[in-house]
C-alpha cells in the first residue's frame, strides 16, 4: 500500500516508568500513553486524524479485488518476548496470515491493547515498535486502535487484539470443503517450531534448546503460490492445535480421509527432542508461520516449486494425500511401519507422567 509521507507533528510523551490506572482514565495521561507509544510507532495518514474510526476510501479497497476479507484475533502469549519474535510481531503476522490464507491482500489493521497496571512503558514501546516493524515490512497500516488499563491481576501484563481488513483477489476461491481424493497436502516448512520455542522460553521445564518461533507474515508466499497454482483448493495457517487439527478440519469439511507419512513430515530434531521428552506430539504444536496447502495433483509440482523459491517456503514438502477412505479420518503411516489415527486434540495437550 502506498500511503503518502506523514507530516511530522509533536506527539505527547509519557514521563513515568510504568503504566498506572490513570493511563486508562480517558484524560491527559491516556492521551500521552497513546501518542507516545502507539501513534509514534504507527503514524500514517489514515491513523493520524485520531478520529474514533478510520476512514478508508473504497477505491483503495476495490483496486485489489472483489470481496472484503475481515478477521480478528487476540494474543495472550506468555512470555511476551520469545526467540524469533514477541507478542507484537505475533499480533501482526497472525492476523495478516488469517487474511492471506483466504487469498486476500492484507491492507489495514486495528490494534487494541489491554494493559495491566505496572507494566513498564519501555516494554510497551518495544512491543509497539515491533508491531510497526512487522506491519511496515508487510505493507499494511494500523489505522485505528484502543487501549484499556486494568487492575493488577485482571490480565497478565499485556493482551493484544488485532483486526485485519484485506481484499480477496477476483477469481480466487479457497475452502476447507474443496479437497478431493488424489489432491496433495503440502506444508511450507518444519512443523511445531513456535509451540516448542514457547515451551522452552517459559523456562519452567529447565530445557535448553535454541528453537526460534517460525512467526512470519506469509501473504507474499501465498501470492506466489496462488500465481503458480491457481487451482489451489485450500490454505490454512496451522496455529493452535497444529497441523493435526487443520488436517482433521479439512477431512471433516470435505468428507474425505487424509493420509500423511511420518517420514515425509518435516520436524526439526530439537523440536522432536522437546516433544519426546515431554511426551507430546509435535503435530499438535502451534505454528505461526506455517501453512497447510491442498492442491490438485496436476498443480502439485508448480505449487511446491513456488513455495520452495520463497525464503519462507524453502523447506516445503508434500506430506500426504487426500484419500477416498472414511470421511473425516486422518491417518499417519509411521516410520516404524505401522499406522495410527491422528485425531482432534481433546482439551489442552497434557504431558504424560510415567
Amino acid at each position: 500500500m502506498n500511503l503518502a509521507a506523514v507530516p511530522k507533528r509533536k506527539l505527547a510523551e509519557v514521563h513515568v516508568p510504568a503504566v498506572t490506572l490513570a493511563h486508562g482514565g480517558g484524560g491527559k495521561a491516556m492521551k500521552d500513553l497513546i501518542e507516545d507509544v502507539f501513534v509514534r510507532a504507527f503514524d500514517n495518514p489514515l491513523l493520524s486524524p485520531l478520529e474514533d474510526q478510520a476512514r478508508v476510501p473504497l477505491h483503495l479497497l476495490a483496486s485489489h479485488g472483489d470481496r472484503l476479507a475481515f478477521t480478528t484475533d487476540s494474543y495472550v502469549v506468555d512470555p511476551l518476548v520469545f526467540p524469533g519474535g514477541d507478542i507484537g510481531k505475533l499480533a501482526v503476522c497472525g492476523t495478516i496470515n488469517d487474511l492471506a490464507v483466504g487469498g486476500a491482500v492484507p491492507l489495514f489493521l486495528s490494534c487494541a491493547a489491554i494493559i495491566e497496571e505496572g507494566v513498564e512503558i519501555a516494554l510497551l514501546r518495544q512491543i509497539a515498535r515491533s508491531m510497526a516493524q512487522a506491519a511496515n515490512a508487510a505493507g499494511v497500516a494500523f489505522v485505528t486502535g484502543d487501549t484499556k488499563v486494568v487492575h493488577r491481576g485482571a490480565c497478565d501484563r499485556v493482551f493484544l487484539n488485532t483486526t485485519g481488513i484485506g481484499v480477496i483477489r477476483a477469481g480466487v476461491l479457497l475452502g476447507a470443503d474443496r479437497a478431493r481424493p488424489g489432491d496433495a497436502v503440502l506444508v511450507n516448512g518444519t512443523l511445531g517450531d513456535h509451540g516448542a520455542a514457547i515451551l522452552v522460553a517459559r523456562g519452567d521445564l529447565a530445557l535448553e534448546a535454541e528453537i526460534e518461533s517460525d512467526c512470519a507474515a506469509l501473504h507474499e508466499l501465498i501470492s506466489a503460490l496462488l500465481a503458480a497454482a491457481p487451482g489451489t483448493r485450500f490454505i490454512r495457517d496451522a496455529t493452535r492445535g497444529g497441523v493435526a487439527t487443520v488436517l482433521n478440519e479439512t477431512a471433516m469439511a470435505s468428507g474425505v480421509s487424509i493420509e500423511i507419512e511420518e517420514a515425509r513430515t518435516p520436524i526439526r530434531e530439537d523440536v522432536r527432542g522437546v516433544a519426546e521428552i515431554l511426551g507430546l506430539d509435535p503435530l499438535y504444536f502451534a505454528n505461526e508461520g506455517r501453512i497447510v496447502v491442498v492442491v490438485p495433483p496436476d498443480e502439485e509440482g508448480a505449487a511446491l516449486a513456488a513455495l520452495k523459491s520463497h525464503p519462507l517456503g524453502e523447506r516445503a514438502r508434500t506430506i500426504g494425500r487426500i484419500e477416498n477412505g472414511e470421511p473425516g479420518r486422518v491417518i499417519m503411516r509411521t516410520r516404524f511401519g505401522g499406522s495410527r489415527i491422528v485425531d482432534m486434540l481433546v482439551g489442552e495437550q497434557l504431558p504424560r507422567i510415567c
Partner: protein, 380 residues
C-alpha cells in the same frame, strides 16, 4: 533423533514380527486360543497404540492392557478429596498435568481451577517445593501419584523440605505399588494371562526381585520391557521363547535403564518416607491389600492427609462403567457398553478414558471407536 530412531527401525521390527509369528506357531496352545500377554504399564499401552504394534502382530497373540496407569486407577473419591483441599483459601494445590482432567464425583481439578481454586500444573514435585519457598504465607500441597517410578522423587522432595525447614509444603500421598495388584489379577477366577511385559520405569527403581513370585509361584514368564517399539517387540519375542521352551523366568530386556537389583539410594529414600497402607482402593479393581503407601509418622507435618481435614470420600464407580473388566483383561475396551458413546475422551465416565495411557483412550484415539479392526484396515 539419536537414541530414539535406533529403536524404531522398520527393518528390525519386520524381522522381530516374523520371528514372533514363527514362535507363536510352534506353541501348541495357540491352536486352541490366542496367547494373552499383558503389558502391565500404561507407558507400554501408549507405545503399542502410537506405533500401531497390535496390527503388526500375528493372530496368535493378543495383548491385554493392564492396570499400570496411575491416573486411570485413581478412585473418584480421591479427586473429591483433592478438590476439598484445593478449596481451602490458603492452599496452592499442585499436580502433574494428567490428573487435571480426571473426573471426581462432581468435577475435575480443571473445573475446580475454573471455579477459583488455586490449582497449578507442575512438572516435578521440586517445582511445588519452590512454589512453597516463594509463597511462605500459603500452604503448597503436591498431589503425589504414581507407582515406584515417581515415589523416589516425591520422597526426596519431602527430605529436601525437611532439610531446608520448609513448613508450608505437604504431599497428598496417593502412591500405589504394582506388585499386589498383579497378584490380585493373577488370583482372579477364570483369568487367562500367559505372560507379562513387566513395567520398565518401576523396575528401574525396584529391580527384578519383586516379580519373582509371578514366575516361581504362578508359573508365568515376565520380561521387563522398554518403551520404544523395538523394545516391546523384542520383549514379546522373549516371552514367547520362554513359553515355547517351557521356561518361566523374570528376564530383563530393558538393561540399558533397569539394573537387575534396582536403585538402592532411591529405595532408601522411599523406605525412609513411606510405609505400606493396610489397603488402598483402585478404581475399577476395588480395595487391594497393601497396594498403596502413606507417609510415616516422622513426616506427619508434610502429610496433607494429617495437616488438613480431608473428607476421605468413597464414591462407587458409575454402574455402566466396565473399567474393572477392561483392567483385568476380561473384555476389550470397545466391548464396554459405554465405550465411544457415553464415555469419550471429551466426557470420560471411566478413568481409562481420561489419560492417554488408559487403554480406552488409547483405543479411541489411535484405534478408532470401532476397535482394532480399524487400525488393521488402516495398516493393510
Amino acid at each position: 533423533m539419536k537414541f530414539a530412531d535406533e529403536f524404531r527401525d522398520p527393518a528390525k521390527a519386520d524381522a522381530l514380527v516374523k520371528d514372533i509369528a514363527r514362535l507363536a506357531r510352534q506353541i501348541p496352545a495357540t491352536k486352541q486360543r490366542p496367547l494373552n500377554i499383558m503389558e502391565v504399564c500404561g507407558g507400554h499401552t501408549h507405545s503399542i497404540f502410537r506405533y500401531g504394534i497390535e496390527a503388526m502382530l500375528p493372530k496368535e497373540i493378543e495383548l491385554v492392557h493392564g492396570p499400570g496407569c496411575p491416573v486411570c486407577v485413581l478412585p473418584m473419591g480421591r479427586i473429591d478429596d483433592c478438590i476439598a483441599i484445593a478449596e481451602l483459601r490458603e492452599v496452592i494445590f499442585t499436580t502433574f498435568g494428567d490428573a487435571m482432567r480426571v473426573p471426581g464425583s462432581k468435577k475435575s481439578l480443571l473445573q475446580a481451577k475454573a471455579d477459583g481454586c488455586d490449582i497449578r500444573m507442575v512438572y516435578s514435585p521440586m517445582d511445588a517445593l519452590a512454589l512453597a519457598r516463594n509463597n511462605p504465607d500459603r500452604e503448597v500441597v503436591f498431589f503425589a501419584i504414581g507407582f515406584e517410578t515417581t515415589m523416589p522423587s516425591t520422597a526426596l522432595t519431602v527430605l529436601a523440605a525437611e532439610r531446608e525447614g520448609v513448613r508450608n509444603f505437604s504431599l497428598f500421598c496417593n502412591h500405589i505399588t504394582i506388585v499386589p495388584t498383579i497378584k490380585a489379577i493373577l488370583d482372579s477366577p477364570g483369568l487367562l494371562i500367559d505372560g507379562f511385559l513387566g513395567p520398565g520405569h518401576v523396575s528401574m527403581v525396584t529391580g527384578l526381585l519383586p516379580y519373582r513370585f509371578i514366575a516361581d509361584y504362578y508359573r508365568r514368564p515376565v520380561v521387563v520391557a522398554g518403551f520404544e517399539p523395538l523394545d516391546i517387540l523384542q520383549s514379546l519375542q522373549m516371552v514367547l521363547k520362554q513359553i515355547a521352551h517351557g521356561r518361566c523366568e523374570v528376564e530383563n530386556q530393558y538393561r540399558r535403564v533397569v539394573p537387575d537389583d534396582g536403585n538402592d539410594s532411591a529405595l532408601a529414600a522411599v523406605g525412609r518416607v513411606y510405609e505400606l497402607r493396610e489397603f488402598f482402593e483402585w478404581r475399577g479393581l476395588g480395595s487391594i491389600d497393601h497396594s498403596g503407601v502413606r507417609m510415616r509418622g516422622n513426616y506427619a507435618r508434610f502429610d496433607a492427609e494429617r495437616k488438613f481435614a480431608v473428607p476421605n470420600v468413597r464414591i462407587a464407580d458409575p454402574k455402566s462403567c466396565q473399567c474393572g473388566e477392561v483392567l483385568k483383561g476380561a473384555i476389550k475396551p470397545w466391548q464396554c457398553k459405554v465405550f465411544g458413546t457415553a464415555c469419550t475422551p471429551e466426557t470420560p465416565l471411566g478413568a481409562l478414558m481420561v489419560s492417554s495411557e488408559g487403554a480406552c483412550a488409547a483405543y479411541y484415539q489411535y484405534g478408532g471407536v470401532r476397535g482394532p479392526k480399524c487400525s488393521t484396515e488402516a495398516a493393510a
